[in-house]
Assembly symmetry: C2
Homo-oligomer: 594 residues x 2
């Protein structure tokens, strides 16, 4: 498939034949040909956003182009492509994300709007598509395949089955199905997941995968089920297994964990060809985007491991386009879209200039003539934290079962276990006035999750080793359903944090001694800020500082965002109860023997 | 796109998970992974014609397959793909061609039914599609894009414009547009060629190219016009130019000329990647198919030039499928069609066994259970030589212009010029009874072309250095319009040869002293025999022998088939007159000064 279907090919042909002038020539460049793996001096002529011709060095155009850009001997490389990411993780809107990532040389990304999908369903995806129209980075939005991630475990804002996926696949700007996370049901032929994959297959559209730690028959089954790539790989042997299963492997390094790139690259040793290798960020935080880059950060990482720069740039350009089956992206040749970057060195640095569909959009790090911001509809902005289960601080207390005495055995989520997973234990705790009492216990606090999609469901329990010293924190960024998550010593502080977020439309809030000490507003679906990158990063830093003040350890801000993540091997708390990711069952909060 | 759209994926998934048995396991093999470039011991499980799983050596299947095939330690390689060929050039029907080529390890071919299209139009293409259903080699028929090849130069059986191409593209079994030969009009934006390409582009279908000797702006223009590959390349610099223009390069070695493979491969030197390189036969004669092979012959050729076997097999498998944008062909991995060959060595030899969609179809050179022959409709068989301009031997005499005296200056086609091209000269020849007389001139004979598609057009002229000693020859294989072509000393012999072909439905016929001395019947559209390869090759040899007896040089049988080929840089004779391929204009047969 081609991104640009409505080309005036007769005009392009006439330009190639020298009968009419082109819009722009980029001259004096070293062309990086990712199709053949050569680098040679050349000039490139562009018209209507498309590459018309690559001229050999010194060969003048028959008709001079309207504009000439001097490449100053730099490398001309296709713009980079991130084959899988979640824009919401940057906490920026698609347009603001695009303005940040384009400076790094990224010109296309494949987006799973899974987070906003969980909040706003089809409307959320449509918002991402619309808002990305003002992004200088082309954003291929895909239909989130697993809403909710773990059916039954938690309440979210939308449930997608085959019908909803079909509706999205018929929506302009939706290019396929996003990571089919529910790999268990994929390889066990659940009717729903089979039905979702079939919607993509029958339209011959891209279906992306997510399949950690599968091997042998299981990874074969996953490939047969429909997906054509996998970015959820952490080891070299998985790289081998996935490539042998015919899948594209999207080498990932995200802001969420230590990079496993060295291990991943081990898997490629002994392979003559790496056509099925791409690069992706998955989740990248604003600070990392500002400080370390985007796809070019991944290039730096693989170069550090000794990968040849030609391979690295090819993974990030041509291979990604082939993985997505897009024929006019990812190379510099006639008919390809003129998404280009000029680089002083092939080392992952930010480009000296970026062209998007033939238009100069970045020069010397400056964004030129960004498109006007898109209006953000009311349905998305400031109105999505619909909590009905929270009725004052008392809702945040943990009532002991009727008939409990002075002490009660109660479920405690421990966040510092030897396995590095959160786990659940039962512990006997005092009961005061009918409520579980944690006073005097430095290692304990309360955690709670409240449905924020209009249902009354909520859960309160005790957490151990969450390292909250005092006060409270709340957030509406709470993967994957993005309910309202809280931690607190004092229910009154917790309530203030929650109330503050409800009023402002979501974000992160810290409270201490009855006063708000920090507020990061994320009014777009409770997930994204309206700030551009350079303002957002200090705002996040400020909120991190406020967080650090109430925690015994640094860097706890995002920890709260993961306490409800049911699609892991952890014990978690959701709006519906305490859930075991391993057995996919709920725990009793108070054991039966009580 | 996938060849097999209606897979029962739930069943395949269950098989991969070991819940149900597969149809077949090929065990004890060295798997040639053309995606990664590795070779490793493995076993492969197949179900419903599809690869379900590649098992590591020694890893038993949970459920034993219904059948086990012992690979005896051989290499398991994907079946070969010819990315461009004309089945008619083999003089076999598609089903018989398939039965021959499958033994060579070819499992898919991309077919331009250009020859039968010129005779029977859409019906001809539909016949090729239907007849190929009985072929063990999968045949992707494409819509012939240039009927006639040179509009106005000659009369053929069908004229294709955008409407006819559109009709074919909507026909089951037609996969795209075949080589867009009219490169001149492509790069000069003729409305018709633009319209034809647009029919393919708007359906996002494969468009194949044919663009000899283009470079710079012209090859860029050709790529922009729509085609995505080019097989009509004879030099290393064209390989470079085409790859730099983003096209796939189909390295060709045909039966029609000395192989230019060594020169072509020179073009690949210095390229790190060869993803855009494929292999094709274009035109392969039955004898060559029998004696030297098919795609495997090309592999032998490139190996002789020092190409790595892994690259060679990859060009013939994975790269070809990618060029055609087919995702379930060309590799051995879950979900790919089980088109496979077992090889003792990776050296281009015939395979020990071939599997087509999981079915063992060749073993030790023997074709197993070939499908029943398809019925051949009357419209195609024995009824296509519709000559109305031939009224006895007198039609084959060359009348001098009214008022000519005893001698006349007349156009003479010379077939042995210093440029190796046929060219036209004027020569003064005697006139006897009002007709040009060549009696006593050993170097001269007559050549004639009669429309055989129901029009009365015909041309008779004198040929020099055609090396016909005596008698006559006629053929209905006459590129590209496949009119009736004749050479003769005596019009009576010429008439007998022509009449014999008209009566039998076409082929090649030699006559000497008033008697038929050889007849190769090609009753299918006057182009193809009903014989299988092993019977056809001796039949052709017999006809070649009969031909050699009346010519002064050996190997002249196919020479007559090319005297009307207007899309070359030659002087040619068509049913409409004497035509200059360089200027695209007709010559006067008798110069004005006469």
């Amino acid at each position: 498939m081609r991104v640009k279907k409505e080309l005036d090919r007769a005009k392009l042909v006439a330009a190639a034949m020298g009968q009419i002038p082109c819009d722009l020539s980029i001259e004096n460049i070293r062309l990086v040909n990712v199709i053949t793996g050569e680098i040679y001096p050349a000039a490139v002529d562009l018209l209507d956003g498309v590459i018309v011709r690559v001229r050999a060095d010194g060969h003048a155009a028959e008709q001079p182009s309207a504009k000439i850009y001097d490449g100053k001997g730099r490398y001309l490389v296709p713009g980079c492509i991130d084959i899988h990411m979640h824009v919401e993780s940057t906490m920026m809107t698609p347009e603001n994300f695009g303005r940040a990532a384009i400076r790094c040389g990224t010109t296309s990304v494949f987006v799973d709007p899974h987070e906003i999908g969980n909040v706003l369903g089809i409307d959320g995806v449509k918002f991402m598509v619309d808002n990305a129209k003002a992004s200088p980075v082309r954003q291929f939005n895909l239909a989130p395949s697993c809403l909710p991630s773990v059916p039954g475990a938690e309440g979210n804002g939308a449930v997608f089955g085959p019908a909803e996926i079909a509706a999205l696949l018929e929506t302009d700007g939706v290019y396929g199905i996003a990571e089919m996370m529910d790999f268990y049901n994929m390889i066990h032929n659940s009717e729903k997941m089979r039905g979702i994959a079939d919607e993509g297959l029958k339209r011959d559209m891209l279906i992306q995968g997510h399949a950690p730690k599968l091997s042998g028959g299981a990874i074969a089954a996953y490939a047969l089920a429909g997906p054509t790539d996998n970015h959820s790989i952490r080891t070299g042997w998985e790289v081998v297994e996935n490539l042998h299963a015919g899948l594209y492997v999207d080498l990932q390094s995200s802001s969420l964990e230590t990079s496993s790139m060295p291990k991943l690259l081990e898997g490629l040793k002994g392979m003559r060809y790496t056509d099925h290798v791409c690069l992706c960020n998955d989740d990248v935080h604003a600070k990392d985007l500002l400080e370390t880059g985007h796809v070019n950060r991944l290039i730096k990482e693989v170069l550090q491991q000794g990968i040849d720069p030609m391979d690295a740039y090819r993974w990030a350009t041509y291979n990604a386009a082939r993985s997505a089956r897009i024929e006019d992206l990812g190379a510099i040749a006639p008919g390809y879209l003129a998404d280009l970057q000029l680089l002083d060195e092939l080392d992952g640095r930010d480009p000296a200039a970026v062209f998007s569909e033939g238009r100069l959009v970045v020069e010397n790090g400056e964004l030129l003539d960004p498109p006007q911001n898109r209006p953000i509809p009311d349905t998305v902005l400031g109105s999505t934290v619909r909590v009905v289960g929270l009725d004052g601080p008392k809702s945040l207390r943990l009532a002991a079962p009727a008939g409990a005495g002075e002490r009660v055995r109660v479920a405690v989520l421990d966040y510092d276990t030897p396995t590095a997973r959160s786990d659940l234990f039962y512990e006997e705790l005092p009961v005061k006035d009918g409520f579980v009492d944690i006073a005097g216990r430095e290692d304990l606090c309360f955690v709670a999750v409240f449905n924020r999609h209009g249902a009354a469901d909520h859960t309160v329990t005790v957490a151990r080793n969450f390292y909250l010293k005092e006060g409270a924190m709340a957030t509406t960024v709470s993967h994957d359903c993005h309910n309202l998550a809280l931690c607190y010593k004092d229910p009154a502080d917790g309530y203030l944090a929650a109330k503050t977020l409800i009023d402002c439309g979501g974000g992160f809030c810290t409270v201490h001694s009855g006063a708000v000490t920090g507020l990061l507003e994320l009014p777009v679906a409770g997930l994204m800020s309206l700030l551009p990158l350079t303002e957002l990063v200090p705002a996040i830093a400020k909120q991190e500082k406020a967080t650090d003040e109430i925690f015994a350890k640094p860097g706890c801000m995002m920890k709260l965002a993961l306490i409800a993540l049911a699609c892991t091997q952890n014990a978690v708390i959701t709006d519906r109860g305490l859930f075991d990711g391993r057995t996919q069952k709920f725990y009793d909060q108070f054991p039966v023997e009580n």
